[in-house]
Symmetry: C2
Subunit: 429 residues, 2 copies
């Protein structure tokens, strides 16, 4: 049942009214260099923003034991963030509608060499329609859109007629443990919306993601006799070759997986980091590679991890050098499974109507090959988990940027979605 057209129009113009303030807030948000582990101050910023709006507040640490016991939890390393999770809670006067989790993450990926950026990475420069900055599109723009969508309702005297949890998490870019922690803390709702930068489309299917490190060891010798030594950098490259063969085998199975068959290469293996050797004149005796690989929905993380470990072990046995000292495989991040948003849910229909009003176009769906926190709610709460958000460019790259026009459309769509999904009531006085 659609929203009343007069409420609809008032919501849209209310988002327009608040948009300058929303952009300024988003710029302040981007100024926090909140890379992994450095999200303490930005979470305090979010906490104040929610508390000042009158939400009931919950702020909590990760529970490492509970997370590591959970099949979707990732192991902790010394790089794991210790920043808190922040939840702002809206409780209506009367619970009439359907409850909702609005979630976003504050952690951002590394900037890479600052010299490759046109503007400094955490300087939120606006040029035309583009708002620049590391972690803007992904996803402080969406994070702010959640807040300002609710603000737009309030501006016209309305609030959701159901419980809404506004959740601000960390560790989305490395383990997914932040979203899992809100689940373990007991937060549940009838639907979840996470406005990741999905170019105004809804994610229909999503890969799982594993992180792992392979460490190769060898026997160093003087370069003058290098024929008799083993070069760990060369050996690591042979391991990479074998992992690429595994990647191709997995991609060859794509037709067996709905929503994946038409993708040219749905599962990507990334060799993201490499370190090896001590200096130019010694044959290197160690090399470590940090890898990220995607898996199909329906494949368990455990099964995929075993296939990777077994594959590396079998390859090592066939290699003259690696056979003597087999490489170690350590899973040191995401152990996340993929999910499919089954078509036909009421939540999707409501978002479709909101999107149509906000953008004038029907809502498209697609498969995305990246990790998404929505997996926690899709897999473990089995509720509609909607990942849908702004149009951005250079996500994880240099000169990351978000479209401001798209930001406004998305904010309208979220506000309309909340109003219809939760229903509305007059603001408490």
């Amino acid at each position: 049942m659609s929203l009343d057209p007069s409420i609809r129009d008032r919501i849209i113009s209310s988002v327009d009214q608040g948009f300058d303030e929303q952009v300024a807030f988003t710029q302040d948000f981007i100024r926090f260099p909140s890379t992994r582990g450095a999200e303490h101050s930005v979470q305090d910023f979010v906490f104040r923003a929610l508390r000042d709006r009158g939400y009931a507040m919950d702020r909590f640490e990760m529970d490492q034991d509970a997370i590591e016991r959970h099949p979707g939890g990732a192991p902790f390393t010394d790089k794991h963030s210790r920043a808190p999770i922040v939840v702002g809670i809206h409780r209506p006067r009367e619970e009439k509608g359907r409850s909702l989790i609005l979630q976003a993450h504050v952690d951002v990926v590394p900037t890479g060499p600052a010299a490759m950026w046109t503007h400094p990475p955490f300087d939120p420069v606006i040029e035309g329609d583009w708002l620049y900055g590391r972690g803007g599109a992904d996803m402080k723009v969406g994070h702010a859109a959640n807040l300002f969508a609710l603000d737009a309702l309030r501006r016209i005297g309305l609030q959701p007629a159901a419980t809404v949890y506004v959740q601000s998490v960390v560790e989305e870019e490395s383990t997914g443990n932040g979203a899992l922690m809100t689940h373990l803390r007991g937060y549940k709702a009838d639907a979840v919306l996470i406005p990741e930068p999905e170019s105004e489309k809804l994610v229909r299917a999503n890969v799982g993601v594993l992180w792992f490190q392979v460490e190769v060891r060898g026997v160093p010798v003087h370069v003058r006799t290098m024929g008799s030594g083993a070069n760990a950098i060369d050996a690591a490259y042979r391991v990479i070759g074998e992992l690429r063969r595994l990647e191709e085998e997995w991609n060859a199975e794509k037709a067996d997986h709905p929503y994946f068959g038409d993708e040219p290469h749905p599962l990507n293996l990334n060799i993201g980091k490499i370190e090896g050797g001590d200096w130019a004149s010694s044959v290197p005796c160690w090399c470590k590679i940090d890898c990220r690989i995607a898996i199909y929905p329906g494949t368990s993380a455990e099964e995929a991890m075993r296939r990777i470990s077994d594959r590396v072990a079998a390859f090592a046995r066939s290699d003259r050098f690696l056979g003597n000292m087999p490489p170690s495989v350590t899973f040191n991040g995401f152990q996340a499974e993929g999910y499919v948003l089954e078509p036909g849910s009421e939540a999707e229909a409501v978002l479709g109507r909101a999107h149509q009003v906000a953008t004038g176009k029907p809502l498209e769906t697609f498969m995305t090959a990246a990790y998404l926190d929505t997996r926690v709610y899709a897999l473990y709460d089995k509720v509609p988990a909607l990942c849908y958000g702004v149009h951005g460019e250079n996500i994880h790259g240099f000169d990351e940027r978000a479209s401001l026009a798209s930001t406004k459309r998305i904010t309208k769509a979220i506000a309309l979605f909340v109003a219809e999904w939760c229903g509305t009531e007059a603001v408490k006085v």
Copy 2:
């Protein structure tokens, strides 16, 4: 003209007499963890050892400008050692013989992971004939042999009848700037002996060595769209492949170079260190490799550097990704040329006789594929530069060790060589 047999016998038994003290001194020497840049304290240890023996002392810094202007000098980086050079000077009562430089270096190569050592790397354990420790065989054992060879003469009331410079340098393992600095400071002699661990053989020919770093840059993207990005780690491996082709071409020219034609693979390229990328989930936008390659004697460092730079540039132009952002090639260490010790010198004949007496065997010569500081004196002073020393194993590897029996033989050979080359006179009282 050979040494008088009675002097010869007294020298040999004097080395035997002092050997326990020599071994204890060498163990103290090995306890200094004198990796690159960390040689200050060990140079003070050497300074005291020379001063206490009555040598005139000179201690001086590197002259960066003078070194970088010299064709055999290597550029300074922030890793370059700032430790001083130490020279102990023996001046005879009457200059009757031929002058001599006895040289050794105190810098040692990195240990690699300490867990791969049987004993801690700087713990000079003796087991049977073996003295263990990083930088023992290469070359604190030889360094001590220089001192104790002169001590052995003194013990029987003799000293060289010519000027002898006992030189203790740094930067032998990375630039060769230490030896070059002694040359620039004006130290010259009629011959030079450097007791590197050459298994009791004399180096006839020696490669030149270049260090360089290749840095690849690329455009990072989110892993979900990695097809459109460029992976700098993969690109670095393609550059390595091209460098290996260059290496094979250079090795194919070996027959044109005397003393190299019979070596299976005289010129080695080592990829000694690699670093790239920031973390598993971003397509890496940078990768750096540190390389070391050898060149034939007679090839100028400048010419070889140009061939490497040109080759990388040409390869980059042919590569879809590298063509957009060509890799940089930086020469950041050795720019050292090789040398040949021309047969027939009187210095070689004297060393041959000393060796025959000390070991009972004729002196063999060979080509070595490692950098040697002797190149400074061979190339720029054009004097006989003898590289000859102890038998060691696992040089630059784990469990580096030197043979004590060989150490004693080498010390005798050095003492006999000094006595015949410089002549002897009674110790000053």
